[in-house]
Symmetry: C2
Subunit: 335 residues, 2 copies
Amino acid sequence: MKDELILLSHGNGGEGTKKLITEIILKHLGNELLDQLLDSTIFNIESNKIAFTTDSFVVSPIFFNGGDIGSLSVYGTCNDLGVMGAIPLYLSLSLIIEEGLKIEELEKIIVSIKEAAKKAEVKIVTGDTKVVERGKGDKIFINTSGIGVLNEKRDWTKRKIEPEDLIIISGTIGDHGTAIMLERLGVEVSKDVRSDLSSIHHISIPLLEKFSGIKFMRDPTRGGVATVLNEVASSYNVEIEIYEDALPIKPWVKEASELLGIDPLYSANEGKILLIASKDEAEKIVEFLHSFELGKDASIIGKVKGAGDRVYLKTSIGTYRILDSLKRDILPRIC
Amino acid sequence: MKDELILLSHGNGGEGTKKLITEIILKHLGNELLDQLLDSTIFNIESNKIAFTTDSFVVSPIFFNGGDIGSLSVYGTCNDLGVMGAIPLYLSLSLIIEEGLKIEELEKIIVSIKEAAKKAEVKIVTGDTKVVERGKGDKIFINTSGIGVLNEKRDWTKRKIEPEDLIIISGTIGDHGTAIMLERLGVEVSKDVRSDLSSIHHISIPLLEKFSGIKFMRDPTRGGVATVLNEVASSYNVEIEIYEDALPIKPWVKEASELLGIDPLYSANEGKILLIASKDEAEKIVEFLHSFELGKDASIIGKVKGAGDRVYLKTSIGTYRILDSLKRDILPRIC
């Protein structure tokens, strides 16, 4: 099948779909649950407290430095569970493929999903495949939904954000968004340029087990760190101050952002955690993060002030400016 | 917002997305879980045995007689849970919208989702919204994933299909596929022409509670009844015989199928259950089905013969022909 192209008949629910599922999807992703090909998958779950999330991925291009739409679909959904304190266990995988996609490219994506699922320690247990006509889609869109388990200890949702709490980022900002933008421009780039795509629950879970002072966690994807902070400011009615000098930004991200006129604070990240923690624990959290490769650039980047609903950036020269949430579309189809 | 069109900025994760989510989606679908807009939704589930499913819907046209892509997305996923004996509880909702869709149309779809979720007694608890450029999608694609709970009594997956078991269909076949086909041709049709779209767990759950002789259940969507039966024949290594005379088919479906040269046995259904049950219970099951509006046309349509892997149709004139699974694509984007 490798040299072939996806046809509409691969989505008809009959022989074509069966062949595609067996020879390309189950070949790589098969497990005792997915192999049953039932209308829904049945399993026992050991905790009564579960987390559920969904994400559709429409990133363009589908292959980029540091990953592809397949690994993004796995890590993106695992991260949405991980920041809520849930250990990701089961994912669904639903493909909307444009007629004409090379089956070889599809297989490359499926292999990438397999490897990401292995690293993230999750199982793909149920799926769906649809095909749309040429010009009615764009190569491939992928939806993954995920189920994870959590416990009281790791559930931060009932804790209260207070003045003097500190804002922590687990690593450099803007890598994914900037890498995709450069990829799309088709310019030649250095080998440093790559998405930060990775799964963060291997650090978020031990963090939440260890530190009860963590009051908020999110992975700052579309809209970036600035947009998440604005959501916090308006949901929790607090003012937030961010220190420009404290922001960890890779040199190539800084350079490309200046050239392209974008702000890394608004660029998507795909392997970072934005945390809010009590003043007492913040430094210990950063220290703990530094013990992980994924957290080696972790920094305290700001703090929660009194009541309000705005985010301020204290610039390198000591002035303040309002950091709004994203208004324009700096780049569509980043994830 | 009603007169406006979807813009790329509605998918940027910032202000545009927030406005769309608040004013169109939460306005209709809001509940205590969805309103939190967290990266994943946390809830307690009372059973340890759960069912999980996913489906992406790409039906074209998005509005049709008997439903639209919104209600289809709810019922389709609930039905995948219902036929496995699971009571659907929680759905995710992920939208991939093409730039330029009228917000008025989107709202119509969201209202339809709301009404379907109410009828099916499920909650939309987590979601995602992406926007793709004009010409890179087709109005709207919707993914729903679903979680349901089940118990040992309703779990038929370990029962064994045997010779003499009977095949039952809960109602007329081919309604959905034929209605969509007529809709797409743009021909004027009588008011009888409509999809059979509905949720079937309100009948599948009591059926499974009452009859322990049910050994298989599936909703015969893409590929129709013939394709599901072929899957059964090859998975369970049995021969199946279907009686043409026993097939419940609405007059308009029969007529349109003859005109269009299609076979209702291969047309999609969206509110039907195909069951396999022990000989002893089959008649009682049909009787029980008749007590529901959705099951009023239920019939025994065939039986399981000895070992084999083929499905045969016994025609009205007494001859036999092999009923293969769907090979060609009779109609793309039926669901």
